[in-house]
């Protein structure tokens, strides 16, 4: 196995992303290239978005509802803490062995990693909304669901979005080892060393890092757009 790679390998890795390259294990065959990189990048995004969507559909309404009622703190916060302790490698490995490989099996399992932060932050965000604002909303005759949608959610946006960002990054990171359970992603470059070689290994790492930063950046921008100007003043 590879020990120290020379610093120059970064150049090789960047070339690998843009045009097919020979590598140390390919025996003269050229692998990688822009089309392949994009194909895997899009597949990586697909898994991530699908899993995040599943996590959102389950955790967001539940977290908002529990926060609104001020109930289930144990469940929401406890799950949030316990969720961080789950080793993603074990999860992916177990899915492959016990449930089966492929997207339909892996996406729901990746979603499980996204549920705790979303649930926890939705709960905390909504339960910390000033009760006076909620009382006022009730006082002017808003229904409970309208209170959640029009008062609590907008005020809790920074916290709620924080949870979604954590979930997105956790899912995206774990999608990197999804190839272990038969789902293609940028992780293929990293894990299939005897196909893509050292160049592919580093190229995969670079692409995963950039993708994570891009997703995080976009979600941060989205959060800014969604946050009312009235709430921005106090953020330090």
């Amino acid at each position: 196995m590879i020990g120290h790679l020379p610093l120059a390998s970064f150049t090789g890795a960047i070339e690998f992303i843009f045009s097919p390259q020979e590598s140390n294990v390919t025996g003269g065959k050229k692998v990688g290239g822009f089309d392949k990189s994009m194909e895997l990048l899009i597949k990586h995004l697909e898994v991530t978005v699908l899993a995040l969507a599943i996590a959102l559909v389950i955790a967001l309404p539940l977290g908002l509802y529990l926060g609104h009622r001020g109930k289930g703190e144990q469940l929401a916060v406890g799950l949030g803490n316990a969720g961080r302790a789950i080793p993603e490698l074990a999860v992916i490995a177990l899915v492959a062995v016990l449930i089966g490989v492929g997207l339909p099996n892996v996406a729901p399992v990746l979603a499980i990693l996204g549920i705790p932060p979303i649930l926890n932050n939705a709960y905390v965000g909504v339960s910390q909304v000033d009760r006076a604002a909620v009382d006022a909303a009730r006082g002017i005759g808003m229904s409970e669901t309208a209170i959640i949608r029009k008062v609590e959610l907008p005020i809790a946006i920074p916290t709620v979005m924080g949870g979604i960002r954590s979930a997105a990054i956790a899912i995206l990171a774990t999608a990197t080892i999804a190839p272990l359970a038969g789902v293609e992603s940028l992780g293929d470059f990293i894990l299939n060393r005897n196909v893509y070689g050292e160049n592919g290994l580093l190229a995969g790492a670079i692409l995963v890092a950039l993708l994570a930063l891009a997703i995080e950046g976009s979600l941060a921008l989205l959060q800014r757009r969604l946050t009312s100007d009235g709430l921005k003043v106090k953020t330090a």
Binding site: H4, G182, I206, A209, A212
Partner: protein, 244 residues
């Protein structure tokens, strides 16, 4: 496409089946979710990876804490540093550890050192942000009173601000500790050992080992979390008094 994990299994745990004759204990072991006979016979084999896991996690956390704490104190005194430091630690936090491991290969190579560097970089953001948060949450009136009573800036920091920031600092540490213990399983990918060695490799088809290793990871996280919670209780008696 072939089965990627078979291709990837490569060097790390390839000798697993040769070493341990699983078949004797659990016939048709792939159909067993959990093979108690094997677990009973082989529990010892988890000792070394557990120790290795701690040897990665503890130094990473100590380094992460010392650096993040120092950065937070620096940014507390030099306010304009707060946003750039938050952004910088945020980038380190966002880069998935698995990518980070391999990005460091040309610099630090395979092994434990790389794992420790990546994991401590990962913890910086959580600990830094919470320490700053804790320091910023100290009521202005308390600082004003302290200053007016003749505490020097150093005394205000160490006797007033930091003690009051303990709950936030420990909250950050708890998140960092639990996440780091879980993520350290990935260290197996760069031959740094740890409990990941019992989850990844040829034994991917043997769930009992994965389950035991996963359970040890989670128990370890739980134990560290409980210790930190206890430390917080002991160092902040005034918070319990407030609730009583």
């Amino acid at each position: 496409m072939g089965n990627p994990f078979v291709l990837a299994a490569g060097e790390v745990g390839g000798d697993f089946f040769k070493e341990r004759d699983v078949g004797d204990l659990c016939q048709a072991q792939t159909q067993h979710v959990f093979c108690f006979d094997w677990a009973r016979e082989n529990i010892d084999r988890f000792e070394a990876p557990t120790v290795q896991h701690l040897e990665i996690v503890i130094p990473a956390l100590v380094i992460g804490f010392v650096v993040a704490f120092a950065l937070a104190l620096l940014a507390h005194r030099t306010r304009w540093l707060q946003p750039p430091l938050l952004a910088a630690t945020g980038i380190l936090y966002t880069i998935p550890s698995i990518a980070f491991f391999f990005l460091l290969l040309p610099l630090t190579g395979l092994g434990r050192d790389t794992a420790i560097i990546v994991l401590s970089a990962y913890t910086l953001q959580i600990i830094y942000r919470n320490t700053i948060l804790g320091l910023n949450n100290v009521p202005a009136a308390v600082k004003d009173a302290a200053r007016g009573m003749g505490l020097t800036p150093r005394q205000i920091l160490w006797k007033v601000e930091l003690p009051l920031a303990i709950p936030e600092i420990i909250a950050g540490l708890r998140v960092a500790v639990v996440s780091t213990i879980a993520i350290a399983t990935l260290a197996v990918l760069i031959s740094a050992g740890g409990l990941g060695t019992e989850m990844y490799g040829s034994n991917l088809t043997f769930p009992t080992s994965i389950i035991i290793a996963g359970a040890i990871v989670m128990l370890m996280a739980l134990a560290f979390d409980a210790i930190l919670l206890l430390v917080q209780r002991l160092t902040t008696p005034w918070r319990r008094a407030a609730r009583a």
